[in-house]
Point group: C2
């Protein structure tokens, strides 16, 4: 597999993944196509959203005689009439929803290979967060065993081996470590839909962190079923490269519109605060009164417009080095997302994230909310302060914050005396020798930040 | 003047203002049309954005012989080829930018009346925030004097009498009180562009509050030069009904694109995270390379799409009672906007805002950031707690928060004993008799809120 990193902001990265059907720019959103019920044709999606990858379900194709025969003889690309990259899932999610499924775990991998899937997925065992530690452990062992065998039959197909483990961080870590040793390409993080459905974003963060942390950086990481764009920035800043979404269609079925700030029911709206081609060309009354099938398609298209533009915004943020601002901004939209940020404030997590921060960024650091001072770049400064700085004399002078950079302002005073000057700043004490370190001088704070944010 | 309130969320309101050229739904964004240099025709704006009102400058028309003669003989509506409502400004802003202007203050009001303006503005004196108290006082006295005379010559035209006063809260209040006694219809809040340009949003909040507070609720309030949509929610929650914006065109001239979260330079972008008809139909490379005039128009259109959809979002929020969430959300986009919220936390401001809160809202209260617990509805709860509640016995029992409403959970225990049960909640202590008061039971908080947010 060729996977090239073009740009980074911490663990978040813009990359190019090559499959037999072309290049895929990451982070990418893979729309889920149900081969039984295509509401928006992949071809149309390619035209409207320039998608270069999608995901479909090989188990559904396998179980349907007509689809199966077509796919085996002409390939999955012809079946979906799409010439970009196609990733296939294996039926694991169906086993979670409907109970046991009727397919051999190796046969379904071979089937994906034979229908020409670009990225096939092993039949992993879905670890429900409600399950016991022992049951979860048994499931990851079996999943790893299947991954080993699947790896040998994958042929030219790229192989996705999910990390499972429920919400047990040590089991996620153990599973990730074992998967790292297997020859494969993509690591979906699985078993998270129940967390997403219940907005347990703190557990979701723990699961992503304990999986990603033990996976090689050269592998592509996929979050299975990320759904709502609210979740995308958090996932990407924790190193996720691919997300898929069936929500655009599921929400549309219930007349629910996705927005960058959440979801609204069509019936509750009198006008649609959206500029997408669907919303600017369709009157809301017209939309409410039109035929259900037609409306469902229109809302699904609207939902896709929002999901894809949110992904574009994430890429812009990675390029300008402002993804943390975006993640914190999104936390203000959902209190449970705020709980997720609390997980990122854990000492061990900051320690890990800090390693991937670059020395400087294109844009200044902007204060967003109390999480801001827990960003890894600030954690780095604090570590540096205690490990590197030794005052020249026993006494130091503490000064109120003035204009930045402080050293420029105090240069004269500093030159005259041997006593160190230390600035009082939102980052904590800043001795003059450290004050041109990013982001001390390149930061924008409110005049009065809340008490807890002060270090 | 007919101005009917249709819906409210605190001081924010959805209203319908009637002029001789039809109905205007508020809060409304009035695009500024420069009669000398029309880049997007008002007719086109009406078609694309369904605008029912715009603002243009009568002084520019007055100073240009050709425009003046045309407007006097055929009217300003024919001049701009627009049959909706037209508000006119008077040259005050030009006097701020270019120094003294050459027009009689009463003549310019008569001129606006004679060209058929729907809402004309007196020639007020621009109070620059840098000016002294005495100079500012002199200016408001002269402005009030002019308003009195102008009121007598306005004829059928609705009259706008700005509130001036720099950043002196008592002068703003004094000016507002005097203006309230004059027969007129709209009160622009003037002299705020320098605050906006320097992102002094805390001073802006003070200025809006000290003006609005002393104006009759029946009058329409306009914020002159609000510009960027980031400012709209703050303005509207403080009772502003109209905002105007020339920024869409000014930013376009510098190749700057407005987004709901801020502004981006075209050259810094590799893709545009936007779904508007301009951005979905124009490739970014194409946009960067096209002729300057054509590009400027395209960016101006994009900017208008964003500004108008942000205004729609505000209306949706007013209708569902979630405007505070939106205001706080926007504060996370700009640290200076956070400073503005600090002004809204002042005891006297909360006391004032609380009066306009309804007893209950359609939607639950969502925690957004440390400002949340300073919302006026929560201030009301706290006042109620201290004024209404008396424990039945000297002792009370303090309980950890459980599921909501607490009274339902503890009903049995409560019935058995005479000792009051008091819940520990993010709102502070909640005695059982008060716990079904909005928003105690209808609220969504993170598991752990930051320390300062706790009361």
């Amino acid at each position: 597999m060729r996977f090239e990193i073009k740009d980074r902001d911490g663990l978040a990265r813009i990359g190019v993944l090559e499959t037999r059907h072309g290049k895929v720019e990451t982070p990418a959103l893979l729309p889920v196509i149900n081969p039984n019920k295509v509401s928006i044709e992949p071809k149309e999606m390619k035209k409207l959203f320039k998608i270069d990858i999608l995901i479909t379900n090989s188990y559904i194709i396998y179980k349907n005689k007509r689809l199966k025969e077509f796919a085996l003889s002409k390939g999955v690309h012809k079946l979906l009439d799409f010439d970009g990259s196609i990733m296939t899932d294996s039926g694991t999610f169906q086993s979670y929803v409907y109970g046991d499924i009727d397919v051999d775990p190796i046969e379904i991998v071979e089937f994906q290979r034979d229908i020409g899937s670009d990225i096939g997925t092993i039949l992993d065992l879905f670890t429900n967060p409600e399950e016991s530690y022992d049951e979860t452990k048994r499931k990851i062992n079996e999943t790893v065993r299947r991954a080993r065998i699947s790896s040998k039959v994958k042929g030219e197909m790229l192989l996705a081996c999910p990390v499972q483990g429920g919400t047990y961080e040590d089991l996620r870590a153990a599973c990730a470590k074992k998967m790292s040793e297997i020859e494969c390409d993509v690591h979906p993080i699985g078993g998270v839909v129940p967390l997403m459905e219940n907005q347990r974003y703190d557990d979701l963060a723990k699961v992503i962190i304990s999986s990603k942390r033990y996976l090689p950086l050269s592998r592509v990481v996929h979050l299975f079923g990320a759904g709502h764009p609210l979740v995308f920035p958090l996932a990407v800043i924790l190193g996720v490269d691919l997300v898929d979404s069936a929500s655009y269609a599921k929400y549309a079925r219930d007349d629910r519109l996705i927005f960058p700030w959440g979801t609204e029911k069509l019936e509750d709206l009198e006008e649609i605060p959206c500029n997408c081609p669907v919303c600017t060309s369709t009157d809301i009354k017209e939309l409410k009164e039109m035929d259900k099938v037609e409306r469902e398609k229109k809302i699904a298209l609207h939902n896709l417009y929002i999901c894809f533009s949110e992904m574009k915004r994430i890429k812009v943020a990675i390029k300008e080095g402002s993804l943390w601002e975006l993640v914190e901004e999104k936390s203000s939209l959902n209190p449970m997302m705020f709980d997720a940020l609390r997980v990122l404030e854990r000492e061990d997590v900051k320690e890990w994230l800090e390693k991937f921060e670059s020395i400087s960024k294109k844009s200044a650091l902007f204060y967003v909310n109390p999480h801001t001072l827990h960003r890894p770049i600030i954690y780095r400064y604090q570590k540096r302060l205690f490990s590197v700085y030794r005052p020249r004399e026993k006494e130091v002078v503490l000064k109120e914050e003035v204009e930045k950079p402080y050293s420029k302002y105090y240069r004269e005073e500093w030159g005259k005396s041997k006593i160190d000057i230390i600035e009082k700043t939102p980052f904590g004490p800043v001795p003059l020798p450290l004050d041109e370190m990013y982001p001390i001088a390149q930061s924008v704070f409110p005049k009065n930040i809340d008490e807890e944010s002060k270090i």
